[in-house]
């Protein structure tokens, strides 16, 4: 059986390759990394989450998901690299060590496996889930408009053929419902970080309203530090702010739902934009993108550790 060290982090991979690599990561780091299944996708694929934990029960936790929009391949690739980084840095990096000595991290690398497989097999530019829509020939729901947070509002569409179709009702998508059930069931998730591409942004609630959240100031300061530390690696400039202020009103998003559930530190990252490739970022950019994203992620995670609530 291959070691996780033989894996090429600088290449894009299929679902099977990534799921297989997750097994080797678990085997290489017993006592730190385990794999849990939180549900099944519409097409019956396992929804798998890596759990990084040094013990304890129901410790405060950080949730990270990548690739809920299947065509954003750099997100899943960054998720793979990040999982490996967390495992390798425990016991080496004081911040990661302190974090995992006190908190758990859950990382769902392929948040939309049906869509991801479809991008490899049939349509590289597929974004949504693959569930059928009653009365329409168009498949799929935008899983980042399907959350119960201003559901159906501005920035989402009621047309099943649209790439921002919100779905028939909140959490209609199994991929979304699985995360909802997991976070609610866990009961002690303190941060949700949802990773997308590509606009070079670090965003926080709200998206469904332009009203500032009660924690706006703290989130803004944290985002400012995170994007500054990200830029220090390769000079990549990110913008930051609330979703509604920075881009546009977008209802039904992951981080708004998380925030309204009481998860204060809810952020969404939009990874690197070269201005030349969009969703088709060449694999040569995976390592630089993941590397520069790491300090921003770590800033957020350490802030969560140091600011219990």
């Amino acid at each position: 059986k291959r070691s996780s060290r033989a894996f090429d982090f600088g290449s894009y991979h299929t679902l099977d390759e990534i799921y297989s690599w997750m097994d080797t990561l678990v085997e290489d780091h017993p006592g730190l990394v385990s794999k849990i299944q939180i549900g099944q996708s519409y097409e019956g694929r396992d929804l798998l989450v890596l759990k990084f934990s040094t013990g304890g029960s129901a410790r405060p936790a950080i949730w990270v998901d990548t690739g809920i929009h299947s065509r954003e391949w750099i997100s899943q690739a960054t998720g793979v690299w990040t999982a490996n980084k967390i495992a390798e840095e425990y016991g080496r990096d004081p911040s990661v060590t302190a974090l995992l000595d006190n908190m758990d991290v859950f990382l769902e690398i392929i948040a939309n496996p049906d869509g991801f497989v479809f991008t490899h097999s049939s349509d590289r530019l597929w974004r949504k889930t693959r569930s059928p829509n009653t009365g329409s020939h168009c498949l799929g729901v935008d899983p980042n408009r399907n959350w119960d947070a201003g559901f159906g509002g501005a920035g989402s569409s009621g047309d099943p053929c649209s790439d921002i179709y919100h779905g028939p009702f909140p959490h209609s998508e199994r991929e979304v419902k699985a995360i909802v059930d997991f976070i609610r069931g866990h009961g002690n998730v303190k941060s949700v970080i949802s990773i997308h591409s590509y606009s070079q942004m670090l965003l926080f609630p709200y998206g469904y309203t332009s009203v500032p959240s009660p924690d706006y100031q703290e989130m803004n300061e944290l985002a400012k530090k995170a994007v500054s530390d990200l830029a220090a690696v390769y000079g990549t400039k990110y913008t930051f702010g609330s979703i509604a202020d920075t881009i546009y009103t977008a209802a039904g998003t992951t981080v708004d739902w998380a925030y309204d559930q009481g998860v204060k530190y809810s952020f969404t990252l939009e990874l690197r934009d070269t201005g030349r490739h969009g969703f088709l970022l060449p694999s040569s950019q995976i390592l630089p993108t993941a590397t520069e994203t790491w300090p921003a992620l770590l800033d957020i995670m350490v802030h969560v550790l140091e600011h219990p609530y």
């Binding site: 290449s11 894009y12 049939s122 053929c161 920075t246 881009i247």
Partner: protein
Amino acid sequence: QRQFQGDQVLRIMARDEEQAALLKMLEEQEELQVDFWRHPFGPGHPADLRVPFPSLGAVKGFLESHSFPYTVMIEDVQELLDEEKEAMARSRRV
């Protein structure tokens, strides 16, 4: 497997709210099959549109008739996809 020969991605900068609203109208024209990679946030933010080859003339005509500044971000989407596929195959061989 779906092919994207000749599809282009255009990066468009709306000058004002009026132009941003005009761009949104493109999305509603289903026959053009325009795929917004990045939505028009508003003036000062680029919008990226993948335009299928058969719609290129109509979309570029629309942009030019409304004096939108735009650049071609990707000349041929399929070329990038072919390169991506080859890079994956190369990695597997290694």
